[in-house]
Every structure is written in C-alpha cells, then in structure tokens.
Chain length 146, copies 3
C-alpha cells in the first residue's frame, strides 16, 4: 500500500462500553476492544475515548509485561503523591496525581482501520492506564468512521 487507496463510503458507527475494573497500573486491552468492534470497513478510523479524568489510554509495547511494570514505577515517581503544594486533596492522595497523568497520556486514541482490521504496528497494543488505586469500571466510547 505505497500509493493512496481511495474508498468511497460514509458511515459512523458508535457504541459505549464499560471495562471490568482494573488495578492501578497499565493493562493491555487490545483484544478486549477488538471483541467489542463491529465488522470493520476496508478503510477508516477508530476513535476510543475514555470518559474519565483519572485514567488514560495509550499505545505501547504489547509483548513484554515488564514494560507495563516499568511504566507504573516511572510515572509514580514522576508525579508523586502528597506534594505539599497540592490543594485538590479531598479525594485522596492518589487523586491529583491521577488527574495529572490523565492529561499527560490523554483520554483518546485514533487508530487507522485497513483491510477490516486495526492497522497497528507489530508491537503496538492498546493500554488502559488506571491511575487510581480503586478506579472501578471505566466507560469508553468507540467510534468507527469510514
């Protein structure tokens, strides 16, 4: 596919889902997302929005779980709890760092669709980034447009 392939079509498909609760940390959810998708078009885009301000979504390494452990270690140090200057502290020590990390990672992903599947790199997977100690079920909006 090194020249542009042109597809004529016009469809928006949309759905909201809830993930099961995940522990604080980074979790590979590619298969979970794929199971929720409809039959995908030949060409298009998938947008995923997480409807929360203390969690995030990102693409990263899908093979070695130690990457996800190192993410948690690094970001817990980079955005430490209990900073003396924090004033938004009523919801717990993990809350304000969770808001900060949510904006560092971002709340949505855009993934191209090609040949009826997600067109990710070999090593790319979709991470749920759970920044709260007890975040509970997280809601996602999936939008496929083509």
């Amino acid at each position: 596919m090194n020249t542009f392939v042109v597809k004529s079509s016009a469809m928006v498909q949309q759905k909201e889902i809830s993930l099961p609760p995940f522990s604080r940390g980074f979790h590979l959810i590619t298969r979970y997302i794929e199971q929720e998708l409809p039959e995908l078009p030949e060409q298009g885009m998938l947008n995923i929005l997480i409807k929360h301000t203390s969690a995030g979504l990102t693409l990263n390494e899908n093979a070695d779980p130690s990457v996800r452990e190192d993410f948690e270690s690094f970001f817990s140090r980079m955005v430490p709890e209990n900073q003396s200057y924090f004033i938004h502290t009523m919801e717990g020590a993990d809350d304000m760092p969770a808001h900060i990390k949510s904006s560092l990672f971002g709340a949505s992903l855009n993934i191209p669709i090609t040949g009826g599947g997600l067109n990710l790199g070999t090593w790319q997977g979709i991470y749920l980034c759970e920044f709260r100690n007890h975040g509970g079920r997280r809601r996602l909006v999936l939008t496929v447009y083509s």
Copy 2:
C-alpha cells in the same frame, strides 16, 4: 447504546475561531467551544486544533478549580524555566518551557458526538492550557465530521 448504532451521512463542517486572551494557567473553555459549534449531528466527531506551539488543549476535571491550580503548580516545577542547557532563550524564560509543555499536552482533541452533543464524561471539560505569561489570543480550528 451498548450495540453499535450506524448512521449514514457524509459531511465535514469547519470553522476558525479566536479565543479571548487568557492568563498563564489552565482554563475551562467547554462552554465557549459549545457556543461556537453548529447544530451537531446524531453521531460524529469533533476535532479541535490549537494553532500554536506554546499552548495546548486537554480534557480534565470540570468541577473543582483547584485541579487547574495544581496543574499550573505541578507543570511549572516539572518543566522549570532558565535551565542552563537551554539554547532557545531569545523569546524569554517562559518560551522554551511553553514549547515543551505544548508537546506534553498536545495541540488537538478528538471528542465523539452523540445525540447532537459532545459525548464527554460527567467530569470531563475542555481545558485551554496557556503556557506563556502573555500568550494573547489563541486561534482554534473546529472540525465536525459525520
């Protein structure tokens, strides 16, 4: 909406706007953006691009203003001014940190549209992230596709 809802349509709507000048810090602009939007489709996406390299956009907590104060406190420490190794210093001490923060937050947002409105979480609002001391009016491109 736990199964996919399919809508046939094909429209791109686009507009450029200028925000009023904001002080350095994080500002909730959800209502401002909503006022600028056309009648929204049943299903689609909104993209917002900020056409600047020393400001950003993000989704975060829309209720308690102290979150936005803590954002400013945290990121001013995380990306300090006057680092001895900075060489891009001619536009002032706040300039290079502003470029760095702009890329950490990102210059654009994608928000799903559902039922004629922005489909954000209950606590999600749109932040303008103003990283310059005197950033002036910032220009945004709003694109609605459905």
Copy 3:
C-alpha cells in the same frame, strides 16, 4: 472562515510510507509528509500514525532548530536511562526510556485540512521524535478523510 463551512463528501484515502532513518532526537518532517499526500480535499482531516513504540509524533516550532535541540536535552534528563528500578532492560539502556517518551508524546496526530492544504499555525511543524539511538526506518500510516 468564522462561520462553519459545510462540505458534502465521503472519501477515505490511505497509504503507508517508510521514513528514512533519523538520528536520535527531534526532526522536522512537514515537507516530507506533504510530498507523500494526495491532492487534498477542500475540508477534511489527516491522521498520521507511527507504527512503533519507541518513537513519536508531535507538532511544534518549525523555525528555529534550537527548539528541537532543547527538546532532546530536556527529555533525556526527564526520562533518564539506567534507572535502578527498570526491569525491561534487555534491549539496551535507551529502550525503556524510549517507550516512556513514546507515550508522553503519542503515536498519532490529527491535522485539519482546509482549502486543499494542512491547516497548521504559522509556526507549527510536524516532528518525528526518534527516541532510540539507532531506530532505523519508521513506518507511518497516512489517512485522509473528507
């Protein structure tokens, strides 16, 4: 363009490309991307995905190369190599920091298309963020929808 301009159309155009190898650091690739694009629509969006987990894409200052040097200086300090708690270390000291930076910057960009061109700010350019010492050729998916 301060009222919404509406265009009826429905087309997805898509292509994969490989960039030439770049050295570790931040590189302006706007012209390279523009050369690869088809004739662009009057209104639409461009999505660019980098299919890798140790590189990223961002929009930032397109004029003064010292901004890109300061990016490399800052982020090499912010995400240092050889942290004692890293466990994903088998692929070299630059690998785990590269994964972290990839998620901080993000793997994709969305750029509005207006009047047959990319609608970026005057000072905005597209950066390839190469986080590995020897990253080699990076693959991108370009998707134009209108």
